[in-house]
Amino acid sequence: MTGPNGSGKSTLLAAIAGWLPATKGQVRVLGKPVRAGTVPLEVGLAIQEVTLYPRLTGRENLSLFGFMYGLHGTELDARAEEMLERFDLGRWAGRRASTYSAGVARRLHLAISFIHRPAVLLLDEPTQALDPLARQVLLQSVAELLGQGTAVVITSMNLADLEQLAHRVLVLVEGEQRVHEETARLVHRLGSAVVEVELGEGGQDVDLDGIEGVLSWSVEELVLKAQVANPARTLPAILQRLERKGLIAGRIEVRPPSLEQLLLELVPTS
């Protein structure tokens, strides 16, 4: 799930979890309606704010929450160890959470959400404020859960996370669903590349209609942006047309497409 600030991602996640009541419609998780005010035990929810007991160690935090989820004895110990290993927390298990870096704290936060092995995991901005290395470790952990059959709903402003993890993407803008489709199809729809060309005078009159492989195009401030399916095949045709009209003035760039680009197109600018 992605969208600009205030688009309703966290609210929707809270409604899916059952923490907030749905103002209309109905939420079903694993086919069962969700009762507002309670989070089903089949759901693991990790909100944006990292919620740990700072004076407890990582293992103690896991143990407390695990116990409250109904685990006890050797089962609880084993599950806590499994979480420490899965989220690469072994080195920090015996240290107080107050000493953790942001990345380690967030991984423990995530581990707590998963200690009772929920079928559905809801993660709100899990990579927020993480350095690239910590982000990769966390994304890897989530990818493993996905690989093992856990359904994960993840919200992120970092679209690269979604491109890396998500099978489907939902784009929310001002509480409205703008896009909801499989990531692969969406990326295909966006094209496999974006061609940007700086145009000279008269550039606003450019016309790429009829060029095979051009999915869409626009000109803003004398910069042409075209989504193309196959840049190797389409780029020469574009450049040929522009050159014929003497419109090429400077930089020519070919970039891979991104969800960010999609978001920019969907969000109304004020």
Partner: protein, 402 residues
């Protein structure tokens, strides 16, 4: 996994959080320790000694020396002689335990004329007013001086009638009178009886029942509430409630943890007070029961303040502190209940302080062992439940917001 097991686990967790918080631990244990010791020193039941008597002889004559020597030898009084140059008023002002009497210049001359002169006395208002012995001695000295003056006046009258020397008769009469001069002879006598009074009007029992226990324990309750509803706690508690744990279980576990720590603080207060001379009353088990119920009421108060903490994080420390001081003042723990205006005293009836104070006074001061206790104890239990309920509702409301 039963609710009881979850409550026990959360109770252990909450207790542990307090144990791993040195500042809070220090406050919970140190506050009752230091303040009870201070309160017991302030309201010390140590006997106030009788005031000393200072004699300033500014006449330095046969008569004045006689008076001074007898005052200085007054039985049961610690006395001292002031130098003639010493300012008697200044001395009394500087020494609150000294009553200063002045034998004024011209005392003997006046007596030889047949009239007595008043003795001037200085008593410091800051003194403990243990001046009965000193004022009796001074009063008796005044009466004896008057007797000498009367004898001299009579001798002068006789001499005048006999047309002999009045002055010679006066001198002789004075000398005769002085041979019998004895200020402790037949005059007023004061004997101090009974136990010595403490410096304040509060007995240790009343002090414990009214001031020390309640105001201290409310501070401890406040600190516990601050700790339990600390920064980021909304999110942590919300997350705990996404497990099998329910809000009532959380409330019970936390109230129980608060109760244990409040009981520890109360035990410290009790032990120090008893060691400092407070009587535990005629029924110690009853004192323990009252303390347990008072602890319960304060646990409810902890949950209430905690509820304010979740519902209004920005202002809750200020609200909690104001509420606690206000409850202490209106409930008669910080200000004397009897001196409060009627409507304020009425408000005091909805504070645990007033009822806890009533229960403690009944058993500690009045020696009650039965009937009079049930009403305050019942009210305290109801208050505990009501406060916990309001606190729980506030928490529930706060946790429903994103």
């Amino acid at each position: 996994m039963t609710p009881l097991a979850r409550i026990a686990r959360l109770f252990e967790h909450e207790t542990r959080l307090i144990l791993t918080n040195p500042r809070l631990l220090l406050a919970i244990v140190g506050l009752p320790l230091v303040l009870t010791l201070l309160a017991n020193l302030t309201f010390s039941p140590q006997a106030a000694a009788p005031d000393r008597l200072g004699v300033s002889d500014q006449d330095s004559t046969t008569l004045s020396k006689k008076v001074a020597s007898q005052l200085l030898a007054w039985k049961g009084l610690t006395t001292l002689s002031l130098a003639a140059a010493e300012n008697p008023q200044g001395y009394a002002n500087a020494h609150p335990d000294v009553v200063v009497v002045v034998l004024p210049k011209g005392l003997e001359a006046s007596v030889l004329q047949g009239s007595a002169v008043s003795l001037q006395t200085f008593v410091n208002r800051r003194g403990s007013r243990q001046d009965a012995l000193a004022t009796t001695a001074i009063s008796n000295a005044g009466v004896e001086i008057s007797a000498v003056a009367t004898a001299v006046a009579a001798a002068r009258l006789r001499a005048a009638r006999a047309r002999t020397s009045e002055d010679a008769a006066a001198t002789t009469a004075e000398r005769d009178a002085l041979t019998k001069f004895q200020i402790g002879r037949t005059r007023n006598q004061t004997t101090l009886v009974g136990a010595a009074q403490p410096a304040t009007t509060l007995t240790p029992q009343a002090q414990f029942a009214t001031v020390t226990a309640l105001s201290l324990l409310e501070l401890v309750a406040l600190l516990l509430a601050f700790s339990m509803a600390s920064e980021h706690e909304n999110s942590r508690l919300r997350r705990l409630l996404w497990t099998r744990l329910s809000l009532p279980e959380v409330i019970v576990a936390r109230a129980l943890a608060a109760w244990v720590w409040i009981m520890l603080a109360l035990a410290i207060v009790l032990v120090i007070s008893i060691a400092a001379g407070m009587s535990a009353g005629p029924n110690v088990p009853l004192l323990v029961v009252i303390s347990m119920v008072v602890g319960l009421a304060l646990s409810g108060y902890t949950v209430l303040i905690m509820g304010v903490g979740y519902a209004a994080r920005q202002i809750f420390q200020a609200v909690g502190a104001i509420l606690t001081v206000g409850v202490g003042a209106v409930g008669g723990s910080l200000l004397p209940g009897a001196s409060l205006p009627g409507f304020v005293a009425g408000i005091g009836r909805v504070t645990p302080n007033l009822w806890a104070s009533q229960a403690y006074r009944a058993v500690l001061v009045q020696g009650d062992t039965g009937g009079a206790l049930w009403t305050p104890l019942g009210v305290l239990v109801l208050m505990a439940l009501l406060e916990a309920l309001v606190g729980a509702l506030l928490i529930r409301r706060a946790l429903r917001q994103v």
